[in-house]
């Protein structure tokens, strides 16, 4: 049987409970009963003790060579199959094909990584990858998905729900920030950024601040972070165009410790710069409205 098929078919088969009657029917239906009415009787205790006893060790050692050889053989053919599938998953532009692969090769990490990385992956497949417990245990797959430019807001939500890994969430944050600048659907991604900006993880929330569009949240972040301990986070707030004016003005008047300035986190400078840009854009708007 093909590896892919066996992986997909044997997902949830467990021993079934049966009554004697049902057993009898089943055995007859499938022709499983012995035609001559005879059955070999083995002493299970003896067998179990042979398994659990230490004397199995020698036997095992004598078979190690065969085992190693077999594993090598299996791995070689296995690797070739996987390699082919991976290159297919990397290069295909057909979303349906990718979805099919996600279903068939759920247990093949390398294939799933390639699928998650492909930019043509459809929203359904993204959610399948994020939700399927067989797939979402692999960190690299989730990383690839989080960094995939075609990830949708829904999939981001699922990833945030499923993944505890700050690295995966960081990818989500970067993508969401990038997307929040677009006109269409920007609001949705800005909300995701807002959610991530409240995260306990310093680097993650810092990365997400750039995409936040909610002035109240930005004010809250500015109030709750100190200039000494988290200057880079404040710097991001100062760079954000949606920070309220009064917050920016307060920031621009900060006297900065020399250390932070040498590290490049000049919050006051950023705030001043942002204010300057805003002033100019307002002037430009006024001019436009005048000329109209």
């Amino acid at each position: 049987m093909k590896l892919s098929l066996s992986a997909a078919m044997f997902r949830d088969r467990v021993p079934q409970f049966m009554t004697f009657d049902a057993l009898s029917h089943f055995v007859r239906e499938h022709g499983l009963y012995p035609k001559d009415g005879k059955i070999v009787h083995a002493d299970g205790k003896d067998l179990a003790s042979r398994v659990t006893g230490v004397d199995g060790m020698q036997q095992a050692e004598s078979r190690i060579n065969a085992l190693v050889y077999e594993i090598k053989n299996v791995q070689r053919s296995h690797r070739e199959t996987v390699k082919k599938t991976v290159s297919l998953a990397e290069n295909t532009a057909d979303p349906y094909e990718l979805h099919y692969m996600a279903g068939m090769f759920a247990e093949q990490k390398e294939v799933m990584r390639a699928v998650a990385k492909n930019q043509n992956v459809s929203p359904q497949t993204q959610i399948l990858i994020a939700r399927n417990p067989l797939i979402n245990q692999d960190r690299e797959t989730l990383m690839n998905l989080a960094h995939n430019p075609s990830i949708t807001a829904d999939s981001m939500g699922v990833l945030i729900e499923v993944a505890n890994d700050p690295f995966v969430l960081h990818g989500v944050a970067l993508n969401a920030v990038h997307r929040s600048h677009s006109e269409k659907e920007g609001r949705l991604y800005a909300d995701i950024c807002g959610f991530l900006a409240k995260d306990q993880d310093y680097t993650l929330s810092k990365a997400a601040i750039a995409g936040v569009k909610d002035p109240d949240l930005l004010r809250e972040i500015a109030d709750n972070n100190s200039l000494i301990f988290s200057p880079s986070k404040l710097g991001e707030v100062a760079k954000n165009q949606h920070t309220p004016d009064d917050v920016l003005e307060r920031m621009s008047s900060h006297g900065l410790p020399a250390l932070q300035r040498t590290l490049g986190y000049d919050v006051a400078d950023y705030a001043r710069h942002t204010l300057e840009i805003r002033k100019r854009s307002r002037l430009a708007e006024q001019e436009v409205s005048h000329s109209l």
């Binding site: 409970f17 057993l23 055995v27 009415g37 067998l47």
Partner: protein, 163 residues
């Protein structure tokens, strides 16, 4: 039973054991039980290859029997696999006792209402055409009747056959 089925079943069994007894550290112990159970199933399959027909194992896990049935028309697909050395070096008697206790709870939890606690078996049909039927030792005669074995149809297996 194909290797992946064996692995899956062993994982289920070890999950059950760890879950029921809250063994710490769970993860390590679970892996060890998985290996042991896999080895047990592997040995069972090996005996089926040697016997080339249906086999009953009495008391494989203390208090529980196992019957392996096989379609007569179909050739046996299983391969004579080498044992897993990791399992051999870590196997012990405690594991069997734990599995027996897990079986007891598992059987008790899967009774339909209104039936006495012994009425029934757990069965699994492998993809290679072998069927595994597990049951309590007390109901052996009933199960044998259900699978079509005549009362005097037991053929003892000679120990040397397994080696």
């Amino acid at each position: 039973m194909l290797p992946h089925e064996r692995k899956r079943l062993s994982e289920l069994a070890s999950e059950k054991v760890v879950e029921l007894f809250r063994v710490h550290p769970g993860e390590f112990y679970q892996e060890s039980v998985t290996h042991k159970f896999m080895l047990l199933l592997q040995t069972v399959d090996r005996a089926v290859v040697v016997a080339n027909g249906p086999v009953i194992y009495t008391g494989l896990i203390p208090g529980y029997d196992l019957i392996v049935l096989k379609k007569e028309a179909e050739p046996f697909l299983g391969v004579f696999e080498p044992l897993d050395p990791r399992a051999v070096s870590t196997a012990d008697e405690t594991c069997l006792a734990l599995l027996a206790r897990a079986c007891e709870i598992h059987f008790a939890s899967n009774q339909n209402e209104g039936e006495s606690p012994l009425e029934g078996v757990f069965s699994f049909l492998g993809e290679d055409g072998l069927m595994y039927v597990g049951f309590k030792s007390e109901v052996k005669d009933q199960v044998l009747r259900a699978v079509g074995v005549s009362p005097d149809g037991l053929v003892p297996l000679i120990r040397e056959d397994l080696q």
